[in-house]
């Protein structure tokens, strides 16, 4: 073996080893990347899986296909990767900018070519090869893109690992059975169900929600369940209103009683907790007064809906009589307990109201609200609720009840023919249905107004511009019309922003729209 061949061979072997090591690092990074990808997929599937089995299936199959493909490519890359002195020579030439010196030398050696010039070339190449430093030529490091990709994948894995699980409602949204608004409604109902105390309505709500969250439930069942859930919430609201009403009546009953004014005021404000505290203070005072006296009265009846008022009456009476002190103390204790219970109910009612505000938004657009009817309100309050025959609005204590939800459908065109549009104040007349899709959308009407106004102006202009010497082209006409319409829209928008929110030219349209919103108005 010639010294040139030996020197070149040695250098190429060193470079080849280094290349293999580099490939190993690269392959290891690829494997690590695949492992991270697999973990990422697994975690993502777990993250989504509980709420959306369909989505999981849609992700699983491509993920498996991709993983298999990547594994195949990796294996192919590892197995078919060219190694050997020829490749080492090529790499060295490229990395050290040797201009094909080693590749040529290797080929001359390999082909066994002989000439003075080739010998001279080999000698030069051997000299160059002996000066090559493989470690500096092929440093062990990952390509920047691979490292960056790996870092991103690890970061994504970390984020996904600590991400909270998806809410079941998301699965509901992915099932596609309910609209986005209805899904939001279900989410609000779920929060509500978790917040309210146990009751018959709460149990009904829970049952309905279970059906809603069941991805396998058919669409009809889900819609039915949604309606049931809304009913249950309505029931809760009614119960809350009823509780408030009882507090109001209690407040009125206690007003004027000796020592009970503050309690009555607190009850009137709906602050049951404050009323209970005040009552407890009264109880403590009475206990101090009655400590020296004997107690002969029987304990009050157990606290109930009716017992609360009675117990307070007894307690009130007992404040002035020392011989009845024991019974009064017991009555006050029962009253305090009941008031605390009512306070809890009111807190729950506040939660219901808050949730209802969120539920009601989508409902208004989705369907007909079933508000508290005039008859039930009148029944609960015991107040007269005779509606105005013209407007259907009922003046009552605390304000005016607008009876939009209790307007009866008139059969005829006039009141004489078919009666008034305002329903019976004490009846449960169904609300006049909204026009819905039969009516022209307000936004469309507003835009149409701009366009038709522009067209009319355009026609006028056309008449004015008509002359023997000039005629507008179709394009000019169209452009002029378009600019007028755009200008009208911009003017209306600016006018609306500056003043009351609705431009003057649109006010009549807006008014007509809301006046004729219901079928009965047509």
């Amino acid at each position: 073996m010639t010294p040139e061949r030996e020197a070149i061979g040695r250098a190429l072997t060193r470079i080849e080893r280094r290349l293999l090591l580099n490939h190993a690092v690269y392959a290891a990074s690829l494997i690590a990347g695949l492992a991270v990808l697999a973990l990422l997929t697994w975690r993502a599937l777990r993250w989504i899986g509980e709420s959306a089995p369909v989505a999981v299936a849609l992700v699983t199959v491509p993920a498996i296909v991709c993983a298999t493909g990547l594994m195949f490519l990796l294996l192919r890359f590892l197995l078919t990767r060219e190694a050997g002195p020829a490749r080492a020579a090529g790499e060295a030439d490229t990395r050290a900018a040797l201009k094909n010196e080693l590749a040529s030398a290797y080929w001359f050696l390999h082909a066994g070519a002989r000439s003075e010039w080739i010998a001279a070339q080999l000698r030069r190449a051997a000299h160059t090869a002996s000066r090559l430093e493989a470690a500096r030529l092929i440093p062990l490091r990952l390509p920047l893109t691979s490292g960056a990709a790996l870092a991103v994948a690890v970061a994504a894995l970390a984020v996904l690992w600590f991400a909270p699980p998806l809410a079941p409602a998301s699965a509901l949204a992915q099932s596609g059975l309910l609209s986005a608004e209805e899904v939001a409604q279900v989410q609000a109902l779920r929060e509500l169900a978790e917040a309210v105390p146990d009751s018959e309505a709460a149990r009904r709500l829970e049952a309905a929600l279970r059906t809603l969250e069941d991805a396998a439930a058919p669409a009809d069942a889900q819609r039915r369940a949604l309606a049931q859930a809304n009913d249950a919430v309505q029931q809760m609201r009614l119960e809350a209103a009823s509780t408030r009403e009882r507090l109001q009546r209690l407040s009125e009953a206690l007003r004027g009683q000796v020592g009970m004014d503050q309690v009555a005021e607190a009850l009137a404000r709906g602050e049951a907790k404050a009323a209970a505290q005040l009552l407890a203070q009264l109880q403590a005072q009475a206990a101090q007064t009655a400590r020296a006296e004997t107690s002969k009265t029987e304990p009050a009846e157990s606290a109930g809906d009716r017992g609360l008022e009675q117990a307070l009456q007894e307690a009130t009476a007992a404040t002035g009589a020392t011989d009845d002190a024991g019974a009064a103390e017991l009555a006050r204790q029962a009253a305090v307990d009941r008031l605390k219970e009512i306070a809890r109910e009111l807190e729950a009612a506040a939660v219901v109201n808050e949730a209802w505000q969120r539920v009601r938004g989508p409902q208004l657009t989705a369907g007909q609200p079933q508000g508290l009817s005039a008859s039930r309100f009148a029944e609960q309050t015991g107040a007269p609720s005779t509606p105005s025959p013209g407007s259907g609005e009922t003046p009552m204590e605390g304000g005016t009840m607008f009876r939009a939800a209790a307007v009866a459908e008139g059969d005829g065109r006039t009141e004489q023919e078919g009666g008034t549009r305002a329903g019976d104040a004490l009846g449960d007349a169904p609300a006049d249905p909204l026009l819905g899709t039969q009516g022209e959308r307000l936004e469309a009407q507003l835009r149409k107004q701009g366009i038709t106004g522009g067209e009319q102006d355009g026609d006028e202009d056309q008449e004015q511009n008509k002359s023997w010497y000039y005629a507008q082209s179709q394009q000019q006409k169209a452009l002029a019309r378009l600019r007028k319409v755009q200008a009208a829209g911009r003017f209306a928008a600016a006018e609306g922003e500056a003043g009351e929110g609705i431009s003057i030219q649109h006010r009549q349209i807006v008014k007509d729209y809301f006046m004729n919103l219901r079928e009965g108005a047509r």
Partner: protein
């Protein structure tokens, strides 16, 4: 050379006599080449690449076609080169009435002192070492063919005899691309006979200053004859001796094949704009030109870079473009640039 190569100690050459001889040849080649280049540059302003291109053609046993607008020094360049090389120089101004005999010579009747008549071949201007065929496209195809045949065969046939041309025989043809009326553009097959086609560009403002300074004085620059015939022939032999490894040769072939629209290796641009790709002569020109370039860069082997350096000059006149290229004003240089960009080096 990159930082991955440690600084050299001593060059391993000069210990082996044959190696030392090769190194001396290279050294001589480079020195002579540079001397000629510098000497020509005393008269010709700029055009360094074209001077190198012409010298490359001369040393690779080829002929060169110079294209450029009138007055940019095509003829001056060739005349200067002839002066520098100490070779026999002749100039032929091609015109439409020029006949083949005006170039290659003709057989005439000569009477000796005894009154005996005999046929004698009168050598034409082509019997020189350096022949300047000025405005070669102005002569008729018949006359052009006579020149091009001589270029190819390095000999002239007349009166039933073949007359070899003296070596080195080097034709420099010039062509004016502007005035096309009354000209006879060279057919593609004849263009292929030229080793390189060089384009002379318009000089820069600084270059123009230099030209005016040099040519409007009382005495114009004078050049010395620095290279004789024997040295030129020796340089030719040296250039041919440079070895080429098969992968590099493959690279040249890949480039050639990439210009052929019917092959799988053709680039998208070649498929769209080329009717016929470069000929095998083109590949020969690539390799031979690359060998000269390698020697100029003090290398004993040809690199892919050498192939790329000469590719435009060697192939631009060998591509036959189609109508689409004419319509979209795509020239062969653009196609070759694309080919050079897309053809990968052997690894």
């Amino acid at each position: 050379m990159s930082a991955a190569v440690t600084p050299s100690g001593t060059n391993p050459s000069h210990t082996d006599p044959s190696h030392a001889d090769v190194e001396r040849q290279i050294e001589r080649f480079r020195r002579n080449f540079n001397v000629v280049r510098e000497e020509v540059s005393r008269v010709i302003v700029g055009n360094e690449d074209n001077i190198v291109g012409i010298m490359t053609c001369l040393l690779a046993r080829g002929h060169v076609l110079l294209e450029g607008i009138p007055g940019i020094g095509k003829t001056k360049l060739v005349q200067t080169l002839a002066d520098v090389l100490h070779l026999k120089f002749s100039r032929i101004q091609f015109t439409p009435d020029l006949m083949p005999g005006d170039i290659i010579g003709s057989t005439v009747v000569r009477e000796n002192d005894a009154g005996r008549k005999s046929m004698e071949f009168q050598r034409g201007p082509i019997f020189a070492n350096l022949v300047l065929a000025d405005e070669v496209n102005r002569a008729t195809p018949k006359t052009q063919s006579a020149l091009l045949e001589a270029m190819q065969e390095n000999s002239v046939s007349a009166g039933g005899h073949t007359h070899p041309l003296e070596q080195p025989f080097f034709v420099l043809a010039t062509m004016n691309p502007l005035e096309m009326e009354g000209t006879y553009p060279l057919p593609e097959a004849q263009l292929d006979r030229f080793f390189f086609k060089l384009k002379l560009g318009f000089p820069s403002a600084d270059g123009l200053h230099e030209i005016i300074d040099r040519t409007t004085r009382q005495q114009e620059p004078h050049v010395d004859r620095v290279l004789d015939q024997g040295e030129v022939l020796e340089m030719r032999e040296t250039a041919r001796a440079v070895p080429v490894a098969r992968p590099i040769q493959q690279y040249a072939i890949d480039i050639t094949l990439a210009t052929h629209p019917e092959t799988e290796r053709a680039t998208q641009m070649a498929r769209r704009f080329v009717r016929f790709g470069a000929s095998p002569r083109g590949t020969q020109a690539l390799i031979l030109g690359a060998k000269v370039n390698a020697l100029l860069n003090d290398r004993l082997h040809v690199a892919c870079e050498d192939i790329r350096t000469v590719a435009l000059n060697a192939l631009r006149h060998r591509l036959l473009l189609n109508f689409d290229a004419e319509a979209e004003r795509v020239d062969s240089d653009a196609i070759l640039d694309d080919v050079l960009e897309r053809v990968a080096e052997p690894r």
